[in-house]
Structure formats: C-alpha cells, structure tokens
Symmetry: D2
Subunit: 186 residues, 4 copies
C-alpha cells in the first residue's frame, strides 16, 4: 500500500561530515523535509518545525531528520552559496542536502522521484524504507509527533532507555510558560 | 519507578453523559489536564492544546482526554456556574470535571492527591494506570505527540486500522498553510 | 457628522481611586474598551491591546484609556467578584468600570446608550466629546496608533515635551527583537 | 536636536517606476526601513510591518514608505537577482532600493551615512527632512502608529478628507476577529 522511498540525489551537503543516503540509514525512521530558502511557508513554519524535530530526536538512534533544498524556481537566487548564508542566519543545525538540478527541467531530481507538489513537503519514511506520510504544506505538530512516536515504538531499540523519559528529561515539558502558582504551594 | 495514579474526586461533570473514573478507564492512556478558568497560561496554551488533543484522539478507543478544574484560588469567582459559561464561550468539547473542594484548605482533593504544583498541569497515565508524565506549565506539542504516539503503540489495539493513516486522513497533515507552488507543477 | 458620546453608567470601579466620567474628562481623548471577561476575542486581543495602549499613554495628560465590563450574557458567571479576580490574574492596570445592569433586559445601560453590537468594542472619543471611532471586533494596532496620534496632535498640549520623543524613550522602539548584528559594527 | 537626513545612495530600485530621493520627497513624512533579505528579524517582523504601513498609507500623499536593502554581510548571497525573487515570493509592494555597495568595506554607503547599527532599522524622517526616529530592532506597532499619526497631523494637508475616517474606511479597524455577539442584538 505504501511506496518504497526512492534514493536521494544530492550534490552538496551542509551540517554533516559525511554524505547521507536512505540506503545507508536503513532501519531508521527518516523525516525528509523539502524546502526552498525563499519559500515563506518554509521559513515561517516548515523549517522551525524541522529544527525542533531535530533537536527532539538528535540523541536518539532511531529517528533521523534531513533537510532537502529542492529548488524548482528562482534558480539564480537560491544557489548553494546563498543557502549556506541562509543556514547560518537561521541557525539550522540538521543535515541539509542540495537536491541535484536536472539538466532539462526546472524540477530537481529527488523532488521529481518523490513526486513532490511543491514546498514545504514533509515525508516520513519508516524503518522498512516505505513512505508512510507525504504532506504538502503546513503539518500539525501534535499529529506529527503522534505519528513519529508510533513509528518509533515499532522500531526495536538497542538501548534500554524509555523514550518517554528521555524526551521530557530535556525540558520540553517544562517550558517557561505563564503559569498560575498558588501562594500556598511552595 | 513511576507512581500509580490516584483516583479522581469530582463533584460535577461537563461534556460527558456519565461520570468518568480512572478505574473505569483502565487499560486506556489518559491525558489529564488540570486548569483554572482564570489562569492566563491555561487559557492561552493549555486548554487550546488539550482541545486539539481531544479532537485528534476522539475517534480512537485507546486514548482519553480529561479536563479537571482544580480551583485553588479565587473560589468565589470560579464556580461551576462560571465554568459552564466559560466552557460554552471557549467551545471546549472534552469531558471536564470539577475537582472536589476540600473543607479545610484551598487546594481541592484531586489536586492534592496528585501533588500538583499549580495550573496548568498535564499528567499522562499509561494503560497500566501509572503516571508517566507530570508537567507543570507549557508543554511542547511535538514532545507531547511523540510521548502519546509511543504509549499508544504499546497498547494492543482491538481495531485493525493503522493509527498513522487515521490521523492524517483527518486533514491534520494537510492544514491550509502558505506554500510555494510551482507554476510548472499541475 | 460624528455623534456626541453619552455618559457612562457605572456601578463599580477597579484600578482607580475615584469614579470616572466622560464629563469629568472633558478635553481629553478617551479610548473606551468594552469587554466581557469570558469573551475569547477580548481576552486574546482586545484586552492586551488596551493594556498596551494604557501603558503607552499613562504618563500623558491628553489620552485616557478606560475599560468597561458590559455583561450582556452569562450574568451569573461574570459578577464583580469574578471580574476582580480576572483583573488580578490578567494583570490589567487601566481603570475598569462595571456597566450598570438594566432591570428589564440583558444589555447593560452604557452598552445600550452607545449602541454597541457586542464585545470587544473599541470607541474613541475626541477632545470635543464626539465619537470618532466605533469598532466592533479586532482593531489593528497600526491603524489605531495612527488615529490616536492624529487626534492627540490636534489637542493643545500644556507641556512642552514632544510626544514622539516621549514614546520612544520608554523603549517601545527598542524592543528585544531578533536582529542581525554585523560583526564589524561595534 | 534632531539631525538632517542624508541622501539615499541607491543602485537599483524595485516596485517603483522612477528612482526616489529624499530631496524629491521634500515635505513628506518618510518611513525608511533598512533590511537584509536573509535577516530573520526582518523577515519575521520588520518587513511585514513595513508592508502593512505601506498599505495603510499608500493612498495618502503625506507619508511615503521606502525599503532599503542594506547588505553588509553575505554579499554573494544577497544579490539584486536574489532580492528580486525574495520581493516576489514575499509579496512586498512598497518601493525598495538597493543600497550602494562601498568599494572598500562591507557596509554600504547609505547605511554608513545614516550610522545604522544593523538590520532591521526603522528611520522616520519628518516633513522638514529631519530624523525624528532611528530604531534598531523590533518596533512596536502601536507606538509607531502614534508617532506617524502625530507627525502626519502636523503636516498641512492639501486634501480635505479626514485621515481618521480614511484609515478606518479601509477596514483596518474592522478586521474579522473572534467576537462575542449577543443573541438578542440584531
């Protein structure tokens, strides 16, 4: 029912010492976020969400977050040099690949392989290499979290740590929100 | 390591035909959201998040979302009559119980049993009745989603539907966000 | 063309040592913000905006910000006792009057005199006592600021201070926003 | 006390048929917004605010909104070609000039003339050509509106239309906000 994910075609990587490939990440859950640096929806929603996802999962071996710069318009503006400055200014820390340009058309190679409709696109690939989610546009944080938690629970984990404890130990559940404290509670 | 959840003590219920109890919900994952109607952090963050959670899970048999009005200050202002108007105006649809007032002190009974520090407080109880999360203040959507997805995946499900498909079929993953469409993509 | 503002009918005042009246404030520009404590649009937008307006103008003699609790529904829930707790929890510091209930109908006296359609309603009265703005719903900050600045400039001011300097000296123009600093700029 | 504004040095204009100069706009109030297309604070706050300002004032002869692309870092990324794509994607409609690069240093000519500290910077020039506001970082909508309204009221206007009416006739004061309507109010 779900399709096997095709391989990435990337010409340049940022934020990673070694090139990444889906084959090389076999067995892991992969969040692939396709964006363009001049896409307002990516800048306002998609990329901040992807960065938060990366920070939530970066110490876990079972989930990997990857960005993909799928330039299909304004090619002269969104060069790798421009992307590098963008990554620096927006403090993005997850691995980001530049989708390989196609010689004959505007849409780059990986974008076409995955049949993406535009940016932002969020694709979730399970441990068996199958596409279990392919969403164009804004993705809800809660629904995305539930999906990833569900998938991650199905992956046999090598470490004994409970994932639930791990997430909340990082403080995600104790953010500095406005709260009502009772004067009588110490 | 994790504590068994004590039972709720509720004097009045809204948005449910029958009183709820943790014992009666045994085997399910429970999200218990304690709030006060005049707590700014609850109104701005906690309650909208709880409502979204309820809508995400309301058709699933394995996760139940419950609100608890734990009045520990301004008792004359936050009466059940006032709460009913509040629930109506804020369009809250999940079950909400009024925590039983204590005759001798400001903090109500359930709030004390759970050792809550204030409002908003979000407590997650797993299928075995144990408290796996107890968070005071604002809770991150992504981290909360991952935790619930993980717990839900560990519960044996009676229906054959894949949870991942179900969530995204409801449109949570295709919200009307600003996106960049390519003129050359149909 | 613009109507003369009718007088307020208020039964109880908060955040002011003395009762206020439009007659007593003659010559000043008055921002009258009508709200209900259980109105979501008031809590999310109208009241925070009114509080910011009050803080912006509180040291100026020419503009006065007044809140009016115009309860026209859920009367048993939105009592003066409940309002007092609400004002405390939401840290509202501008003067707030309770609109006088009408013996025969749900809509209170001042609300009817001003022909308000609901809450939130923002009414601007100029120095001549005329209604120059009567807005139901969310009001844009920029447009509201321009209107008030324009009106204030038409009022003869007793002090010699430039209003422009005063506002910005309070730091409103140097908020702690994310900015790009150049490494070469000291 | 306030300094005379130096002239702009611009190499390329967008969104205007003719080059603009402060000298040529003498007598008008000018909002000069300096930004960089890869500056997160500009994209999130400064540019949307400037666009809203432009739309609020575009039919008035007394206030002119001008953007200035003051590239002082990542020069290879923020070229005029890239800026053109950015303006298109972000739907910016106000006139935008490219600050003239300096042969000897990173900071462009106009940015240096105005002694700007970084981006975003908002500068307000009154009808007499003097700098009455010079703000680095995020600027508050209300305070900015009050300042512009005050300045505009001091400029003799050639048309007879009341500015207050004009702004609100455009709907800025009647945005579709969540409001509480009374069932008994028609």
């Amino acid at each position: 029912m779900t399709a096997l994910a095709p391989e990435l075609a990337v010409t340049h990587w940022f934020n990673t010492a070694r090139p990444l490939s889906l084959a090389g990440l076999g067995g892991k859950i992969i969040v692939l976020h396709a964006f363009q640096m001049l896409c307002p929806g990516c800048v306002a929603h998609g990329l901040p969400q992807t960065e938060r996802l990366h920070r939530l999962f970066k110490d876990r071996p079972d989930v990997v977050v990857i960005g993909l710069h799928t330039v299909f318009e304004h090619h002269a503006a969104m060069t790798p040099v421009a992307l590098e400055a963008f990554i620096h200014e927006y403090r993005l820390t997850f691995p980001i690949g530049v989708d390989q340009p196609d010689e004959h058309e505007a849409i780059p190679v990986t974008m076409r392989r995955f049949n993406m409709r535009g940016t932002p696109t969020t694709i979730i690939i399970n441990g068996a290499g199958r596409i279990v989610e392919h969403a164009f546009g804004q993705v809800d944080d809660l629904a995305l979290g539930v999906l990833l938690g569900t998938l991650a629970a199905e992956v046999p984990r090598s470490d004994a740590t409970s994932s639930s404890d791990a997430e909340c130990a990082e403080g995600a559940c104790q953010a500095p929100a406005p709260v009502c404290r009772s004067a009588i509670l110490s």
